[in-house]
Symmetry: C2
Subunit: 311 residues, 2 copies
């Protein structure tokens, strides 16, 4: 079916990368949160960003904004000089750690693929959106753009060659997120990691990755919870997030399956069985920041199963 | 149902541990190969090994044989001094790398649990059999005893606390094994590994562990194959196995999904879609050793789904 409109509007979900044990490989999409990207064909031969709402500090220069870079990567591969005007409605605050740049890149690429009838596969679209991630963080990682485009839980099995697997999503899984309004730069969060890890810890980590993937396919909520352990990134990155362990303790004690840092932070997420459990956890997690005086936002969300979609 | 006989005979399958990417966590059981353990109650208050066939060099001292040690661990926890006579029929040659000691330990523990109506859980039995592994290799690992007891593919998510997950087994998966008749001591195979690994390689490894587990649940044979990559142990351990990479090349070129070292070697295994594919691969893999003059044995086997069972 050929898409004949001059304009298209796409919603792309926010995402939680790493999911505790799966540093750089696992991620999932959030149901209720995300960015809206509107693409309109123009008579020019360049990409322009016409409007950004919800994030005053983002660049409107198409070469300095992830959206422009991701779409340009697609146009380059198409050999197209189609002019495009892009409107960005940010539902995800930049720097929150729930895939703000990825949602914009993913939405823009999915929109462009449809608007231009380009016919690229999902893996191609992930590849283009990764160019946005390269601009945002210096590394073309896929653990946020993959779930934003595909929906559900995704595994980036390999970056070279790019191989992304859509995992199963247990039906009653919900996510509680607390976002303290502090800045954690992705570059700093990468810097704090060690370049080498002990084989012992690596084995613990890949045992848990295997356990989490198995838990998702088995709809085994308790196994998912037991597998949400990160002995590699969390022990180091938690130093960048005040009260992290207090929040984690509150989540677990209130019944969450597991709790860790969302992506490179500062958002802290918990996975829960059932919406009520997630609401209970987010309440208890919030209390830590309430008492500390750090401003914060909270979200309770199901898992988005569709990925980026036309509105 | 109470078991009232004085004697019991149990078959426990040989196993392939690690499965390429899953060092120390993944393993599966072989259909046609294994040990048979016969336990008989005696009027003494000690364990004696009455007979060993198929492996002339194994100790008949119950304290120096994995079978005696594993059963003693169970008796100790029971607080029992029941005398037992144990007959061991080795179908798996010690030092082959396909779980010889584990098959004996697993068979003995499953037999004792039934004979004594002890009522231990599978996880308890794995724990006792691990004491046999501790004697055999100095480390109480579970990646061979778990699949020998449970059958199918297993994941040792965690050793402390012990947490073992039974994974799915795709119906048309077969295994080709070539066992060159050389000695690789488990201790040497451990010694050759680095105590630290790069975070980059660790991420590659746990991406593949996730991919392999997903491939098993999705019955996706190609994904299983793509995930059978080991950047941690195989590059180092392959130095202990002459012609390893030639054998691996022969396996892949003849259509195997993937090929790696079984456990700590020297056996080399390939996973294949269909028995015919496995037979083709084992033929091509064999040719390498035929040409080299190294004596070898070959096996083609389905995946054992039952685990250790009473005969």
């Amino acid at each position: 079916m050929v898409f004949k409109e001059k304009s298209i509007r796409v919603f792309a979900p926010a995402t939680v990368a790493n999911v505790a044990c799966g540093f750089d490989v696992l991620g999932f999409a959030l149901q209720e949160l995300g960015d809206i990207i509107t693409l309109t064909k123009t008579e020019t031969q360049h990409i322009e960003i016409s409007e950004i709402s919800g994030a005053p500090n983002l660049s409107k220069d198409a070469k300095s904004n992830v959206v422009g870079v991701a779409v340009q990567a697609m146009l380059d591969e198409l050999g197209s000089t189609q002019g495009l005007s892009i409107k960005i409605e940010k539902g995800v605050k930049p720097g929150s750690g729930i895939g703000s740049s990825a949602a914009s890149s993913a939405g823009a690429v999915v929109a462009a693929n449809r608007l231009l009838n380009a016919g690229f596969t999902e893996i191609d679209m992930i590849r283009f959106a990764m160019e946005g991630e390269r601009l945002a963080s210096g590394a073309a990682h896929a653990d946020n753009v993959a779930p934003s485009i595909l929906g559900g839980f995704t595994l980036v099995r390999s970056l070279e060659p790019l191989d992304v697997i859509r995992l199963n999503t247990p039906p009653n899984l919900f996510c509680a997120i607390v976002h303290p309004q502090i800045e954690v730069k992705t570059a700093d969060a990468r810097e704090v990691l060690n370049k080498n890890v002990s084989l012992k810890n690596a084995v613990i980590q890949w045992g848990n990755v295997g356990g989490l993937v198995a838990g998702l396919f088995l709809n085994d909520y308790k196994l998912i919870g037991r597998s949400m352990q990160d002995v590699i990134a969390e022990p180091l990155r938690s130093s960048l997030i005040p009260y992290f362990y207090e929040v984690k303790k509150a989540a677990i004690e209130s019944g969450a399956l597991g709790c860790s840092i969302s992506g490179s932070g500062p958002s802290i997420f918990a996975l829960c069985e059932g919406r009520k459990s997630a609401e209970r956890s987010v309440t208890e997690m919030s209390k830590v920041f309430e008492n500390s005086g750090i401003p914060f936002k909270v979200y309770v969300s199901g898992i988005n199963q569709e990925g980026a979609k036309q509105l």
